[in-house]
């Protein structure tokens, strides 16, 4: 068990190393991304440019630059942005985490609750029109591009129907700190929560329904039925439990990816300064230190989530443990 864990750890580190190299390589060769001129300011004379280049070490070979950056991120922690000079990157990224967490956790609560409801109801009434409708709704949820949905909701709540009783409570876009203004924090996040969760409600609702239906055909369910247990009891206590395995593993992967910044589009559309938006802005600015840090952070979460899910799977499913 310990050996397996260590192996996992080694794999994780290797993957993160690979990603950091990949990011560095991708951005190294972009034209117009020479940070020296941008740092030196407009119309800077060539001597000024040289001075800036030297002080940042841009004239060193790539691997030296890469190692310097890695050292600054992990060891000394004083990596600074290329665009906003003097701005420490690591604390900046950590600062944006609460925003992303607020968005993702809220959406996760929403989608888990609704997916459970939809999945169970659909499975319970399988074959009926309720089941079919729910599944179609779920499909529609999956088929909508999340940024488009966000824009449409914005249109409705911010502009068209803003003055009606239904949406007058919707505040202007942007994030409010929970510590400063809890009510404002909640209100600004409601529409983004809905937007982000619709895709996942559809997805997880369908997955759960399929898993429940499948497990309802297992032998042990037949035994339970033969024993005289009610359908509801069978559904909720037996079939659901086994289907939750698939649900939980998928959830772990998706949640990990979202915390890592995959909610980028939602954050951009709603003006929430989370990790995703920070990454996106940094990508547009070609601000390499921030990009490296956020991508490493994002992939750390994905890899972590993968590992946690694998371990959980090992723990939950006894069949896998002995394999």
């Amino acid at each position: 068990m310990v050996y397996a864990l260590l192996q996992r750890l080694g794999q994780m580190l290797f993957v993160m190393f690979g990603i950091s190299v990949l990011v560095f390589l991708i951005f190294f060769a972009t034209p117009g991304a020479d940070p020296a001129a941008r740092i030196a300011g407009r119309n800077a004379s060539p001597e000024v440019l040289e001075a800036v280049r030297k002080s940042f070490g841009f004239d060193q070979p790539f691997y030296v630059q890469y190692l310097t950056m890695m050292k600054k991120i992990f060891i000394t922690g004083d990596l600074t942005s290329f665009v906003n000079r003097g701005w420490k990157v690591v604390p900046a990224v950590l600062d944006t985490v609460p925003v992303t967490l607020s968005l993702v956790i809220g959406a996760a609560v929403l989608w888990v609750v609704f997916a459970l409801i939809i999945g169970i109801v659909a499975a319970a009434t399988r074959g009926s029109w309720i089941d079919k409708t729910l599944m179609v709704l779920g499909l529609i949820g999956i088929s909508m591009p999340v940024y488009w949905l966000g824009e449409m909701l914005n249109l409705i709540t911010q502009s068209r129907y803003h003055d009606t009783w239904m949406f007058s409570w919707v505040p202007p876009l942007g994030y409010k700190n929970f510590s400063d203004d809890p009510k404002g924090w909640f209100l600004t996040l409601v529409i983004p929560w809905i937007t982000l969760s619709i895709l996942y409600i559809g997805l997880y609702g369908r997955v759960l329904r399929a898993a429940i239906v499948e497990s309802l055909q297992e032998d042990y369910i037949r035994t339970a039925r033969a024993k005289g247990l009610s359908e509801t009891r069978i559904l909720l206590r037996h079939a659901l439990r086994t289907s939750l395995v698939a649900f939980v593993t998928l959830f772990g992967l998706d949640f990990g990816a979202l915390v890592g910044g995959s909610a980028l589009l939602t954050e951009v559309v709603f003006g929430l300064q989370g990790v995703g938006k920070l990454t996106y802005d940094a990508l547009l600015n070609l601000d390499l230190p921030i990009i490296m840090t956020t991508v490493l952070y994002a992939s750390f979460f994905v890899v972590m989530a993968n590992a946690v899910v694998d371990v959980l799977y090992m723990l939950i499913d006894p069949r896998v443990r002995t394999a």
């Binding site: 034209p31 117009g32 004379s45 900046a92 600062d95």
Partner: protein, 553 residues
């Protein structure tokens, strides 16, 4: 400078006028409150000697002071140079090469320390130590500057800037007479900072200043906070008046659509970015009392690379100039209320500007309509028909729509045109670097201070062109001996007779316009959209809206 660079505005303001009309009275009943400003993003370093963006120069005016300053008055009063930390404008001796300033006593920095002569001298040295972007362009005229540019770390400016503690004076010696020098001392790059300010870019750590406000918090991702400077006392109403709000909170991160909504709902008092065109009619009708439109001296233009096919051919460049429908571009920008077509380099209302428009259906003084037939003919004659052309623009709504239009026009006159929008953060340096082989792009230029040289020499002079550098502001690569000679003539004449010099600049304007290294597009007006509660909006031609001179209660 460009949009995020300080905007200067036109009107000739001779540096030496010392007339100070009556300042508006400070109305104490409006003092207080928190003003909230919003912008899409931060604008780089907070260091006043390095930052070269309009966004921050607009707020530096109430935080930092130089020896001289631009007057804080409405409109073109903003072009007047007035004494700031200096007691009065100096007498210039030694054929215009020596300036002696008497520095005021009793002024404190926001951290409580007194401003001393040592601080003044150290600040000038710091300009070179931190490699300020204008250390070469503006301040190389100071004696000893050449050594400082070569080895910035050990800059002493010996013989250039010397201080006399006892007499409380600072003497600056120049290598040649420079009639623009007092302007150069008034811009934030020449702010007086404490002598122990870091000798490198301070980045996001604020440096204490002498103004009525100081930066109490700064997070480039979230926002900036300006609070009252407890150690400030008014020493010159003209240069540094007191401000009204207690706190100015400047938040970053919203999209321009969201910013408009915020101002409309009263959640924000002002937005930095231009309102998106689809909200303009709403703003112009329902909220017209909260809108202020002011003239600028600036232009949007399309530099064409004169060293690369097809625009190394004069006829091709002229064809582009004839084909562009400047009225359509004005519409894309927001309509005739917000912009006006131009066909020459110097913008209207600018010193040395004389209306001249050769690139229209009936050439004369004003632009009327494009001449597509003539354009097509010129393209044929030039022999460049059918060549591939790529237009590079910034990836913002307005720039992109202009780019899409330009591509369409280029196709119409016979080129195989493509469009490439690039992130606004790198587009400007990208189009300057000759390694990127940019043929035509769209850019803007706003003036640093009111002088014709700022447009003609900086944008089209040979010394502004450097091969393979991200910093070669002469994007068109235009270098003509005759034009250079004329510009030199104007420079030398300006030391003695500014008016005569301006006449020569007018000629230079004509020469450059005829050579068509760029296609002038339009001159924009500036639109400020403010909240209902904001009062006393004043637009200053040099700094734009004077932030702290308005009140919120």
């Amino acid at each position: 400078m460009r949009k995020w660079m300080l905007a200067g505005a036109a009107a000739l303001a001779l540096a030496f006028t010392a007339v100070v009309p009556a300042q508006a009275e400070y109305q104490a009943e409006h003092r207080g409150g928190t003003m909230r400003l919003v912008a899409r993003s931060a604008a780089g370093t907070l260091d006043p000697q390095i930052n070269y963006t309009l966004q921050y120069w607009q707020i530096y005016q109430s935080v930092y002071s130089g020896l001289t300053g631009f007057k804080k008055g409405a409109g073109e009063e903003g072009f007047e140079v007035v004494p700031n930390l200096a007691e009065e404008l100096p007498a210039v001796t030694n054929d215009g090469k020596t300036y002696t300033f008497k520095v005021r006593k009793g002024i404190k920095f926001s951290d409580g320390r007194d401003v001393t002569i040592k601080d003044v001298v150290a600040s000038f040295q710091r300009i070179f130590k931190v490699s300020s972007p204008t250390s070469g362009g503006f301040y190389s005229v100071i004696v000893g500057a050449d050594k400082c540019i070569a080895t910035p770390a050990t800059c002493t400016l010996e013989g250039g800037v010397t201080g006399d503690e006892a007499a409380s004076t600072v003497t600056i010696n120049l290598t040649r007479a420079d009639p623009e020098f007092l302007f150069k001392l008034a811009v934030p790059h020449a702010s007086i900072l404490p002598a122990d300010a870091p000798a490198t870019d301070a980045g996001s750590v604020p440096i204490p200043g002498t103004g009525p406000y100081f930066f109490s918090a700064y997070d480039p991702n979230k926002g900036l906070t300006m609070s009252r400077n407890p150690n400030f006392k008014v020493w010159s109403e003209a240069a540094m008046p007191d401000g009204y709000p207690d706190v100015v909170q400047y938040d970053f991160g919203l999209t321009d659509e969201a910013e408009v909504t915020a101002v409309m709902n009263g959640e924000a008092d002002w937005m930095f970015d231009q309102p998106p065109t689809d909200r303009l009619s709403e703003i112009g009708t329902k909220f017209k009392d909260q809108v202020y439109i002011n003239t600028l001296t600036a232009w949007w233009y399309a530099p064409m690379n004169t060293r690369l096919a097809p625009f190394d051919n004069l006829k091709a460049r002229q064809a582009v100039n004839f084909a562009i429908d400047r009225k359509a571009l004005v519409n894309l920008f927001g309509g005739p209320v917000l912009a006006a077509p131009v066909c020459q380099v110097l913008p209207p209302g600018f010193p040395a500007h004389a209306p001249y428009c050769p690139y229209t259906k009936d050439p004369g003084e004003k632009w009327s309509a494009p001449d597509i037939e003539r354009a097509k003919q010129l393209v044929e004659e030039s022999g460049t028909k059918g060549q591939k052309v790529t237009v590079i623009v910034e990836d913002t709504a307005v720039s992109k729509s202009i780019g899409v239009y330009l591509q369409s026009v280029l196709k119409e006159i016979g080129y195989d045109a493509e469009l490439k929008p690039i992130s606004p953060n790198i587009q400007f340096t990208y189009i300057q670097n000759t390694n990127n082989k940019v043929q035509i792009s769209v850019s803007q230029w706003y003036q640093d201070y009111p002088a014709a040289s700022n447009f003609l020499n900086v944008l089209f002079g040979c010394s502004s062109f450097t091969e393979g550098s991200d910093s070669s502001i002469n994007i068109a690569g235009f270098c003509d001996e005759k034009v250079e000679a004329k510009m030199k003539e104007a420079f030398t004449l300006a030391a003695t007779d500014q008016a005569a010099a301006n006449k020569i600049w007018t000629e230079v304007d004509k020469m450059v316009t005829d050579a068509a290294p760029a296609a002038p597009l339009f001159t924009p007006k500036h639109i400020d959209f403010v909240s209902k509660r904001l009062g006393n909006f004043q637009f200053n031609a040099q700094f734009y809206w004077m932030v702290t001179q308005s009140w919120v209660q």
